[in-house]
Symmetry: C2
Subunit: 910 residues, 2 copies
Amino acid sequence: MAKCKKSAKKAKTTKYIYFFGGGKSEGKSSMKELLGGKGANLAEMSSLGLPVPPGFTLTTECCDQFYKQGQKWPKGLNEEVDKNIKYLEKVTGKTFGKGKNPLLVSVRSGAAISMPGMMDTVLNLGLNDETLQSLIDLTGNERFAWDSYRRFMQMFGDVVLGIKHHDFEHALDIVKKRNKVKLDTELDVDGLKQVVTEYKKVYKKAKKSFPQDARKQLQEAIDAVFSSWNNDRAIKYRAMNEIRGLLGTAVNVQTMVFGNSGQNSATGVAFTRDPSTGSNKYFYGEFLINAQGEDVVAGIRTPQQITLKGSKEWAKSQKVTEAKRKKEFPSLEEAMPKSFKELDAIRVKLEKHYKDMQDLEFTIENGNLYMLQTRTGKRTAAAAVQIAVDMVKEKLITEKDAVLRVEPKSLDQLLHPTFDPKSEKAAKQIAKGLPASPGAATGQVYFSANEAEKQAASGKTVILVRIETSPEDIGGMDVAKGILTSRGGMTSHAAVVARGMGTCCVAGCEEVVIDYKSKSFKAGGKAIKEGEWISLNGSTGAVYAGQIKTTDPSLTGNFGTIMKLADKYRKLGVRTNADTPHDTIVAVKFGAEGIGLTRTEHMFFEGDRIISMRKMILAEDEAGRKKALKGLLPLQRKDFTGIFKALKGKPATIRFLDPPLHEFVPHDKKGQMEMAKAMGVPLKQIKDKVNSLHEMNPMLGHRGCRLGIYYPEITAMQAQAVIEAAYAVTGSKPEIMIPLVGNVKEFTNQKQIVLDVYEAIAKKKGKKLPYLKIGTMIEVPRGALTADAIAEEAEFFSFGTNDLTQMGCGFSRDDAAKFLGQYVEMGIYENDPFQSLDQEGIGELIKIAVEKGRKTRKNIKLGICGEHGGDPASVEFCHKVGLNYVSCSPYRVPIARLAAAQAAIKYGKK
Amino acid sequence: MAKCKKSAKKAKTTKYIYFFGGGKSEGKSSMKELLGGKGANLAEMSSLGLPVPPGFTLTTECCDQFYKQGQKWPKGLNEEVDKNIKYLEKVTGKTFGKGKNPLLVSVRSGAAISMPGMMDTVLNLGLNDETLQSLIDLTGNERFAWDSYRRFMQMFGDVVLGIKHHDFEHALDIVKKRNKVKLDTELDVDGLKQVVTEYKKVYKKAKKSFPQDARKQLQEAIDAVFSSWNNDRAIKYRAMNEIRGLLGTAVNVQTMVFGNSGQNSATGVAFTRDPSTGSNKYFYGEFLINAQGEDVVAGIRTPQQITLKGSKEWAKSQKVTEAKRKKEFPSLEEAMPKSFKELDAIRVKLEKHYKDMQDLEFTIENGNLYMLQTRTGKRTAAAAVQIAVDMVKEKLITEKDAVLRVEPKSLDQLLHPTFDPKSEKAAKQIAKGLPASPGAATGQVYFSANEAEKQAASGKTVILVRIETSPEDIGGMDVAKGILTSRGGMTSHAAVVARGMGTCCVAGCEEVVIDYKSKSFKAGGKAIKEGEWISLNGSTGAVYAGQIKTTDPSLTGNFGTIMKLADKYRKLGVRTNADTPHDTIVAVKFGAEGIGLTRTEHMFFEGDRIISMRKMILAEDEAGRKKALKGLLPLQRKDFTGIFKALKGKPATIRFLDPPLHEFVPHDKKGQMEMAKAMGVPLKQIKDKVNSLHEMNPMLGHRGCRLGIYYPEITAMQAQAVIEAAYAVTGSKPEIMIPLVGNVKEFTNQKQIVLDVYEAIAKKKGKKLPYLKIGTMIEVPRGALTADAIAEEAEFFSFGTNDLTQMGCGFSRDDAAKFLGQYVEMGIYENDPFQSLDQEGIGELIKIAVEKGRKTRKNIKLGICGEHGGDPASVEFCHKVGLNYVSCSPYRVPIARLAAAQAAIKYGKK
């Protein structure tokens, strides 16, 4: 009883329907959450005095209540619908479901965020045997009326009642065959009457009834829209696109206007600017004469262009003669000049009003223009940048607005080579993997890093294909134009390294079955051998057989302008994760203000160095290790010299040896035999040592500073290399970073070794370095929890959010793919925490560390160098908690710059 | 300059020396930190008016300054020493280093905590060629004087100057041979003079000079004591015994008294009660007539007993006739009745004063009794308990004092079988491993769990010997009297499970080389075959060949009294970790108030269950899994019924399936073939499935609630088993615990499954359960950090501190042994964080979780169920942060009860 009372009360206080059109508009564009995007904009257009067919919107709250009441209409809704229908009848002077001038309506879904999958549209609702006749009488066009009726019956049966679409098509085919015609449009009135008869049979067979009562039609259509909010496709779409927190969909009931009521009618879609380039040269859009909305997108008839200029360009590209164009495909500007003028004026008005590029739908009924929809238009990254820059120039928007207008992630599209769209469309796709590192690449297939290096050296364009990659493959990855792996996720070794290098990569492509022995792979029924050409789209994950033409990106022009604006407004510094002078130069070109992470271990894999490294690891005593380290010292010093030179005075955070040693040693017999020979010891000794390095959970094992504490001579060698390089390159700003510190005493141990080395060198050189900082990575939860103690000793923290996520959440990055996907689908985590920082959990650890760190060292420099440094949402978080900088792979630097600027604009100065 | 001023100022304000004796006592017993244990007690005895030879103590602060000044005396110390020497001369009427009545002193180290390794004692300091003559004149005992001189030269050369002890022994031997005597005591005056001559040569050869100046002797002896504070042995001892935070050692300079100055002199050590049993029957101690202190402990002469009663008992045990005893080994009571009476009175006085059993050193010089030391006496666990109980009865101490008097860890000695000490001493030790689970065991060796079970069933007493154990060995471990492994640490599977079972275990005994093929092992040069007897001491790690007699423990008497007192004062609840009715019964006997952790997975390994479990894991679909689970359901229900019955209404926290599935499947070909046969599928399918379960870091992989989310049917089955068992046993208190929750949504997912199962059963039964709680383990750092959200859903938290330590510190328990030992030695961690909770880091996570958890659920029940629940320091922490209970393995329950009581007494009510 109490419950009943409550909902009764609710019904009285909540307004479920908002009217628009006919000089009345209860909603406005800011009410998207409640009215959905479509409803809010219809209301807004109506307020602006644009010609909008009147109608009303059932709110998303209404949808929410529908579900809360067990898929029933909330109390009071019935009466509200009746009231609004009556008002609509009054405004239009028509009657619903009966009478001589029948009111026909469309019913459309419309959530706050546009999403496919839901029930889309039912047109011509209100038609029945009675109103059909009225329509015939009213229009004098019997064919049009019968065609409208049979279309409505099909749509209603299909989308509202769930009768198979195929059954209607089949019925239509029977009639067409019987009448010996090919196209629907060739059916005459009699033929259409036969279709209606056949459709009634389809309903009967499906045990559904077609309601003659218009009010019932409406009720069922509204129910169907609400129900479709939670159909499988819609749920999946929301999950895939991370759309959460919405109440439901709104329902728009709107008076029908007919673009198909004769040669003086038309329907079309348009963009206020070109959505693929952003150009403002002309009004971009298409229309069809005597057609209903869906005909334009259906692609049965070739649509015409809106402007004359556009029409001429189209004709040129399609090789259509001017005569033919004028006759068969005239522009709206030519065919209906009055409506065109009106529409063009509306275009200008809407852009001024919304201050953004709009996507419009319109219908012309007997020469009268109606606006059916306006919404912010989707656009490519290039168009977004162009439009933002142009609109600032046009004084439509401010610089800050412009910065907010470009989706940071989309910049990726502008930084990499891309395929020519047509050539890509024409190419043979043989498999699809994960879009692990963006861009396009075309090249010849090689299956080993060595072979790839050899072939690249001889001038070949190489695509490296591996089941999975390991640090030993770095050389081959470096020379490859693209990388394809059949195993591993978005954070697999291949994916992470490729993104760092800016190399196109398709990872975890399970359809690709690789056979190293025969040097070939199979995919999509095709066998590809070594040396054959394939092409990869790292932005979509597509793998193609053969060559596809690519084009290179440009970093100046509008892109440069937006980046300059971003730098003007952002507060966060942006650094890069780079391990080589080459990567450093790329990153600086992209705007990096220094290096936030150099992984020194990557340097140990190159060429002969791995031999010295292995000798060091496999040595039986300190003397043996020191000897091997002596061989590595000049090479490391050269690495750092190169990086300092490339940075030209920008700071570089250099992380000391981090990964467990087993990653460096050969696990195969051949490699072990080589090492045994090189070191002059028995194979068994090598084997035993390698086995002794095995760990159950290497992620939590003997790595990071634990190695430097166990083998202080490694830390000493690395310190010497960095410091001597800093002396060699004037203006160097070395920042030595001790990894995996969980306890301040680990840090002081390592810091002392570095200081001892530094003092010895400084004594020899007779002067101090002008800049040298020693800090640590905060990547062990305990490090974050005891950050106050650590900050007493460390001059900077860099948050290693990859490991912090692994340990904080207890997810092994190598294994979690198995269930993390399901977790995200179920909403346990909103995003994969390895891709976008888990702000609630891991973010809390960062907050604790920031607070504690600043408590004991007020001016401590705080940054982040995990993969998250290039994720816009994570960058925003870093701004909010007050870090000094983020660091990310070179190709993410522009993304981070823009995201940082957006955060600063949204959340103010930090 | 500034530095100099500061230290000069320091010297003026700091008092470095405290005088005692001769009616003056500047110190007292509470000043142990400053004066060391020995110094503080000498001062205290002196204040009590006991006959203490006067002297003075250099403070530990002085030692600290000594190191801070670069091993130099702090300013002002010289003058202070001179002043005190002068005062000592005044009190004794003797002169230092000269004159007719020479002042001789002893110099002894003495830190706040007794520790070996430091420089111990130099006696007779002040002797030189001049005072030697005075001593002869004064005592008329030329032999005594020369003997004292040569002893002093040897001690000074050896301990102060670092001349090899052996060189002095060698010189002595030469003289003995020359004089044709065997014992030192047989040398006459002339012989001793020769010794002095030879000793001078030893000094010369070592290029050291024996200072004739007494003041210089004293300075060098003091330096030597200070220096010895940081010698290798002392450092190692402090590290091993976790002694930290001390400033240094004190130095005691005390007037010599001579127990070796004739037949009316003696020296001895005594305990106020029997240190091995705690008995107060008689005054327990030994002495020697005409001897110096070190002679008593050196074991060259057989010492005599203090009391007549003790002497008679001793004679009986040594089979010495009463006549011989009276003649050769009379008691002090008989030999020196006056001194005895005096000493006995002092005994009573000291016990009353210190309110604890004392360890005394005394010397009788020419019939005058002197007290040289008193300190709290070391004792066995049995003695500690007896003394505490007795002293309460005697009203010497309060109940709270009694509770604080017993070291919780030592209780372990009282809960397990022990070896007869003499038989153990006589046995042949063949190896030594880690003391992984305490107690003593003797039995026949078997090398597989199956064989162990078979032999035990046939009545054999079994010792299970394995390289390492795995969950599959549970059956064999359960029947074994003792377990020996050659691999793994204190937290290896064998160690953890054995401690849980209370079974004696020696783990990680690398000297034992096991050959499964020949069913034998080698150790200490011996080969032991299957069926042969060995004995294990799980408290020391010793492994013996052959049988040794064991005796069983008693839980009543004094032990019971102390436990009752502990329960009276503790605030923390104490539960147990138990997986079987048997363990539960043991734990309840030890005082457990419920189960804090039942690991349901252990139940899956027994007998045929593993087959059903494997079928479940290897099933291809949900239907297959459900079928296999159906087979497991009745078995699990029976497990829980058994546990609920054993608990008789006490609560039981039951953790749902936790370990990664790969732990359950066969990794060997034979096992895989069996499974293929049992399931009727090809071997390859089994192999592939097993391989697919492999993880890089299983600790951070697919386990805990992640399994239950992936396979909801497992959670449902376990819920059904628990709930049906609870219905079956009246008074059951089930608490279902969801493991590895890091995100509240994981918890709600699992909770819903449990609730659905419960509702269905309750509906069928027609009534609700009177008690059912659903909570979670907090063992992922993220779980602790988001405890506020989790507590909104969970009714209790149990801290899984093992995993919390693994993830929070980033230490894999399976791998960290490699470097954690070094870490503890280096002081990076004070203790192994898997043995004693890392309060600073992991403790911080617990504090956060406690605070956040109570914020959203005020009455949330909080406990701990990691290994730490039985570690006294960790229990104290749990009390301080306000947990409701700790849970530990059955054999640690008494330890936890006592530790909890001590925490409550020390820190008050929580």
